[in-house]
């Protein structure tokens, strides 16, 4: 296996098949398809065929075991696409030491370190019961989806650092973790191994380990991207400060420096910070690994220029973000940086950072006086404002002018387009961020907080029997607030139909119930309930829309896959639920 890894570029994503792991005692296999009924807490995943999905299906004969990669990793970005069995428990151990918990935490309103996405507790046996666990990190919010739905965990991990003598000199860190696209951890320090870590303690490089002894889990993919490109190093810096206000680079020979010297790093630069000046920095950048590097600099309210290596074009002072992208060979390359502070009221210093593939972003200089532009976030408290109208921006940029969002106590929220009578999206986690709408003039938009399932783009709800859109003109009549996440919308068409549309968050938070009443109609019509093309019946009346990541529960009706999503028939009434 070592050969296999060394054969490919280290920056590439490495997708790990079952053969990359050891310690499989038979509970793990590779299958073509998995599914589960999320409402049957039997810890089971159904499967069929042979394929690339890793499935852990423990039985009495084949008890589950943890599997461990043979390859070892240091700093890395790990992306796991997985499916929990109902009620199941697993874990992703980074370097075999630090566990990100994988759990069926579906619809929990309060989450702990032991919930899905949590950084599991460390453990001290010497403490009394109830105090043994410590230093766990709960996810910021519960971003879990239902069991039986694919979920994505992305972790950027920084390994601990050790001295030459083997002493730990820096703790490991989770630089960021997102669950289903929602940030659940940011720059979290890991002081030591979590409970159940591999023996042997913390290491510079270790394997990835998937827990398999606590229930069923399926893994669609596990990708590891090593972050082992060292940041470029700016060596000794020579500087010259020229007094005066410059918006264009003058002829250098005409300049007389007011001060000059050498500094070890940009933080040591103090000359020329407060007064109007043009500063020139030069020296060598050294890189350990050949590759593409991007340098970004900006001078708040001022101008700058950066030149790496030999000039290919005339250096010009620019404002805003100045980018220099350069392919650098291993070794040293000369550079020149110009910083112009044309007015003395501007901030002091400048921003300089570098980035590259498989490299942690590195900041070399930060302006001192630049104010934070960010405003205080305005988060809507659903107990005070359980319903909020706003403009709504859909993922493709389309805007809904008559949008409304509704929260329920149990946490299943939805947005609705009053003009089209479509449920636009459902989500759980938090309610709304109204900063875009309520900070200063705002843009009239509110943004959902948590894991969002997009259901509609506000196109026609009612369809003809062949799935094509009806051409009725509707006039909204308004809505009645029923309490605890329940709202009944009503709308009338110009040709005399009336639609009453009642939507209510489920009491257990696992989804929403919708019942439609179409009076004045006798034609068999369809309504579009969700996007998706892959419909799997996982149990009676319960359908997994795999590519939408949701379940559709409907009795007495058979959903159909239409050209632009899933359709259900309606003539006068229809009730269904969406679980997510």
């Amino acid at each position: 296996m070592a050969l296999f890894f060394s054969a490919i570029s280290v920056q590439a994503q490495t997708k790990l098949p079952l053969a990359s792991f050891e310690n499989n005692k038979g509970s793990w296999s590779e299958v073509a398809k998995v599914w589960a009924d999320p409402l049957q807490p039997g810890h089971e995943l159904q499967s069929e065929g042979k394929g690339s999905i890793l499935l852990n299906a423990p039985t009495k004969k084949k008890p589950g075991t943890d599997i461990i990669t043979t390859e070892k990793f240091g700093d890395a970005e790990v992306t796991l696409v997985y499916m929990m069995a109902p009620g199941s428990n697993s874990g992703l151990y980074l370097q075999g030491q630090y566990e990100i918990q994988l759990l069926d935490s579906w619809a929990k309103t309060e989450v702990k370190a032991g919930d899905n996405g949590g950084i599991y507790e460390r453990w001290d046996e010497s403490k009394p019961d109830g105090q043994k666990g410590y230093q766990g990190y709960a996810p910021r919010i519960n971003a879990s989806k239902a069991p039986g739905v694919w979920q994505t965990l992305n972790v950027k991990f920084k390994a601990p650092r050790f001295s030459a003598s083997g002493e730990k000199i820096e703790n490991a860190r989770v630089m960021s973790a997102t669950l289903n696209g929602v940030t659940i951890h940011e720059d979290v320090e890991l002081f030591g191994p979590t409970r159940g870590a591999l023996d042997g303690g913390e290491v510079a490089a270790g394997p990835i380990r998937i827990q398999g002894d606590h229930g069923a889990i399926a893994i669609q993919s596990l990708e590891v991207k090593p972050y082992d490109t060292p940041a470029p190093v700016f060596g000794e810096i020579s500087y010259q400060v020229f007094p005066g206000s410059y918006r264009e680079l003058p002829v250098e020979s005409t300049l007389v420096p007011s001060s000059s010297g050498k500094i070890a790093n940009f933080d040591e630069f103090v000359a020329g910070l407060t007064s109007v000046s043009l500063s020139k920095f030069e020296g060598k950048i050294s890189v350990k690994k050949a590759g593409n590097y991007t340098f970004r600099m900006s001078v708040p309210n001022g101008m700058g220029a950066i030149q790496i290596g030999n000039a290919t074009e005339a250096v010009q002072l620019r404002d805003g973000m100045i980018t220099a992208e350069k392919t650098l060979a291993a070794g040293e390359t000369s550079y020149v940086i110009w910083v112009s502070k044309p007015a003395d009221w501007t901030a002091q210093g400048f921003q300089l950072a570098a980035s590259s593939d498989g490299m942690w972003d590195e900041t070399y200089s930060t302006p001192a006086g630049a104010g934070f532009r960010a405003s205080d976030p305005i988060l809507v408290d659903p107990t005070q404002t359980p319903i909020l109208r706003s403009f709504i921006e859909l993922p493709d940029g389309k805007k809904i002018s008559h949008g409304i969002s509704v929260a329920s106590n149990a946490g299943a929220n939805f947005s609705y387009d009053i003009n089209s009578s479509q449920v636009l999206r459902v989500w759980r986690g938090g309610f709304l961020n109204a900063t875009p709408m309520w900070n200063s003039r705002g843009n009239g938009m509110s943004v959902p907080i948590g894991i969002v399932s997009e259901l509609s783009d506000g196109s026609s709800l009612l369809r003809n029997a062949d799935g094509s859109a009806t051409t009725k003109e509707w006039q909204t009549q308004g809505y009645q607030v029923l309490g605890n996440g329940g709202v009944r919308f009503s709308t009338k068409s110009k040709d005399g139909l009336e639609l009453k549309d009642q939507i209510q968050g489920k009491a257990d938070g696992k989804g929403i119930d919708r019942s439609l009443e179409l009076s004045g109609n006798s034609t068999p019509l369809m309504i579009r309930v969700a996007p998706g093309k892959v419909l799997n019946e996982v149990s009676d009346n319960l359908y997994w829309i795999e590519d939408a990541g949701i379940f559709l529960q409907v009795a007495g009706q058979k959903p159909q896959v239409g050209a632009d999503g899933i359709l259900l028939p309606i003539t006068t009434t229809l009730s269904y639920s969406i679980l997510f």
């Binding site: 003395d344 009221w345 109208r389 002018s401 200063s440 009239g444 308004g478």
Partner: protein, 673 residues
């Protein structure tokens, strides 16, 4: 402190002296000014009090002596970014907010009002009305009726009366409703802005930039067009009015009287004039042929932002009207920076309220956190009239006003996104009259040869007969797609003669060349109240002379010889003479008194203060930028808002500021470093 108590203080000298040594509250100081007047009438010697009485005698009462701003106590944390106010028949006050809440305030004029949240979650409610037992409000996209079905004190039926299209642009605000006598709802709608032409008002959906009349059955009748930012719909004396804000095609704020089919001036709305129910037939092409849209391509293929060019030819709104008769001229222009920068709701003072001002109009202003008073008359069938400052000093931007039964005025405020002179972001306050009439111009009316001014109190005839007591000048505006217009065609009108009525309550002023369509600034610095020589609380009225009435002209009496006026007869006159005395040698940097006058006269102080951020940056921040005085002058004439990214309202070009004064201001700014 009541009146009776300060009379006691007059008698008790010892107490008075004692009080002087203590720290007075502002209110107490004001009573002291009045106190000196009483002393005067008692002919007590000023020296007996050991202080200079003449110093006090200059101090005429101010607006805050008659109209007090009180708070309306609200639960801590209640965010009242007021977008609508309505009085309910039971004396409760309904308050709607930009954050989408509707509060009902019980006992709103008491010390302990009680707040209930009646509704929430609506989209930027910018107007509220109580009509036939229910609350109606306008949110961005619809007119909504709120009903409490289960009697728990909270609305649960949010009924859409009428809904309109929008392009989901932030600037698509909607205002109203104002209930008409036939039970319809007047709603006004903002334009959006272009993308590349981010400065240009556009109407992306019907009927943005219109005034709509919505029938009780929900039918939307397009009523009038040409709106840009109509934050102040009004229904005054049975007629539809609205106030507009300065912007592209809108030279300054103004109050328009709207009849069906009127076009107020912003062309974006004309995009829908071909709709079958449009009462306006004027097309965009017809309009652009008369008023140059100034669509000039720039080097990147887009359009350049139109800027004011000081000496370029221009057309006025009145001139454009001659070719485009749908144009409606505003009944009253509010000169930008003087009478507001973002005028809001006009409301009528009930006839039996507020003494001499009953039946007149109040207009709020968001940016300057104040209220103006408007008096209108109909001349040749056209509404026109004057605006005059009334009360400033509110904590945030004044957007909405409603009267309580006790004659107090609730004032709903917000400044979010624009900034205001009052530095709070929001507020609900109450303006209370002390039942004493201030010395003010009560009305200003147009006459064939000038104006007739009626006062709230008898005037001192000597001051009124002195022609130097009056200053009249006039100007008009450009009509162009540039953001706002500087005053143009400025004129000074000679005072030809005056005629004071026998009862001393009014005066007719004849001027040279009254200018039709011009805004006439009528300034009365020399007029004194008969009984106590007080100055007017507000000296300047701005009359928009759309029509000059026909009729008899005044018989001009021979001009009195100015020198004959006895000098230094009163303390006030003495002061005036002193002020007119030759000044010491011209200083490079103006002193405090001079700069105050310069900043006020040139309307700088509308948006800037010395060391506090208001609408624009403080002068001390401008000073830090190390501009030369000449550069500052250049920036006054052609501002660069892009240099101040943190400020929402761009500065308008001010080419009308005389160079010499601009230079003085610049030097003073730089002296603040």
């Amino acid at each position: 402190m009541k009146k009776s108590s300060y009379k006691k203080m007059v008698i008790n000298h010892a107490r008075f002296h004692l009080a002087l040594k203590n720290n007075f509250s502002t209110d107490e100081r004001k009573y002291m000014f009045r106190l000196t007047i009483n002393l005067k009438s008692l002919t007590l010697s000023a020296i007996a009090l050991g202080m200079s009485l003449s110093l006090f005698a200059q101090e005429s009462p101010k607006e805050e002596d008659f109209f007090k701003i009180l708070k309306v106590p609200a639960p801590e944390g209640t965010l009242l970014e007021v977008g609508g106010l309505a009085m309910m028949p039971n004396g409760n006050l309904a308050v709607s907010t930009r954050r989408g809440d509707v509060f009902i305030v019980e006992n709103p004029t008491s010390q302990r009002p009680y707040f209930t949240k009646f509704a929430s979650g609506l989209h930027e409610i910018l107007g509220l009305a109580y009509h036939e037992g229910a609350l109606y409000m306008v949110q961005r996209g619809e007119l909504t009726k709120l009903t409490d079905l289960n009697s728990d004190g909270k609305a649960d039926w949010y009924q859409t009366i009428a809904s309109w299209k929008m392009a989901s642009h932030y600037h698509e605000y909607s205002f109203g409703p104002k209930i008409t006598s036939d039970g319809s709802f007047i709603v006004t709608t903002n334009v959006a802005f272009g993308n590349q032409e981010w400065w240009r008002g556009v109407s992306n959906e019907p009927y943005r930039g219109w005034t709509l009349k919505i029938h009780p059955d929900g039918k939307i009748e397009p009523f009038a067009a040409g709106m840009r930012s109509p934050a102040g719909p009004g229904y005054l004396d049975g007629e539809v009015f609205y106030t507009e804000n300065q912007g592209d095609y809108m030279a300054s704020g103004g109050l328009w009287h709207l009849e069906k089919g009127d076009f107020a001036g912003h062309p974006a709305s004309l995009r829908w004039s071909d709709m079958p129910d449009s009462p306006i037939k004027l097309t965009v092409a017809e309009f652009d042929a008369v008023v140059d849209p100034m669509k000039v391509k720039n080097e990147t293929g887009g359009f350049s932002k139109p800027e004011n060019v000081a000496n370029a030819p221009f057309i006025t709104l009145a001139e454009a009207k001659k070719q485009l008769p749908s144009i409606k001229l505003p009944a009253v222009w509010f000169p930008y920076g003087i009478h507001g920068i973002s005028t809001s709701e006009p409301i009528e003072i009930p006839d039996n309220f507020w003494g001499p001002f009953g039946g007149q109009i109040l207009v709020g202003d968001q940016g300057q956190s104040k209220i103006m008073r408007v008096m209108m008359e109909k001349v040749n069938g056209v509404y026109q009239g004057a605006s005059i400052d009334f009360r400033s000093g509110f904590q945030s931007g004044v957007l909405r006003m409603v009267f309580a039964a006790d004659q107090s005025l609730f004032v709903g405020e917000t400044n979010r996104g624009w900034g205001s002179a009052g530095d709070a972001n929001e507020g609900l306050q109450r303006l209370v009259w002390n039942r004493e009439a201030p010395f003010e111009m009560r009305t200003v009316k147009a006459k064939p040869d000038g104006f007739e001014i009626e006062f709230t109190k008898p005037i001192d005839k000597k001051s009124a007969e002195d022609l130097t007591s009056y200053l009249v000048s006039s100007f008009t505006y450009k009509y162009h797609p540039v953001y706002g217009s500087p005053p143009v065609k400025a004129m000074t009108h000679e005072i030809l003669g005056v005629e004071v009525s026998d009862d001393g309550r009014s005066v007719r002023v004849a001027i040279s060349d009254p200018q039709q369509y011009h805004v006439h600034k009528i300034s009365l610095p020399g007029i004194r109240e008969a009984s106590n020589s007080h100055e007017l609380v507000h000296m300047d009225a701005y009359y928009t002379l759309n029509e000059i009435p026909s009729g008899d002209k005044m018989v001009i009496k021979p001009k009195p010889v100015v020198a004959a006026i006895p000098v230094a007869k009163t303390a006030t006159a003495a002061t005036k003479t002193t002020a007119a005395a030759p000044k010491p040698a011209v200083k490079t940097v103006p002193d405090e008194a001079e700069i105050k006058t310069l900043l006020a006269k040139n309307t700088c102080s509308a948006c800037h203060m010395t060391d506090k951020r208001v609408v624009g940056p403080p002068f001390t921040e401008v000073a830090k930028r190390n501009y030369t005085p000449e550069q500052i002058v250049e920036l006054i004439y052609q501002p660069k808002p892009e240099n101040w990214p943190g400020y929402a309202t761009p500065m308008a070009a001010m080419p009308q500021v005389p160079k010499e004064e601009a230079l003085k201001i610049a030097k003073w700014i730089n002296s603040l470093k």
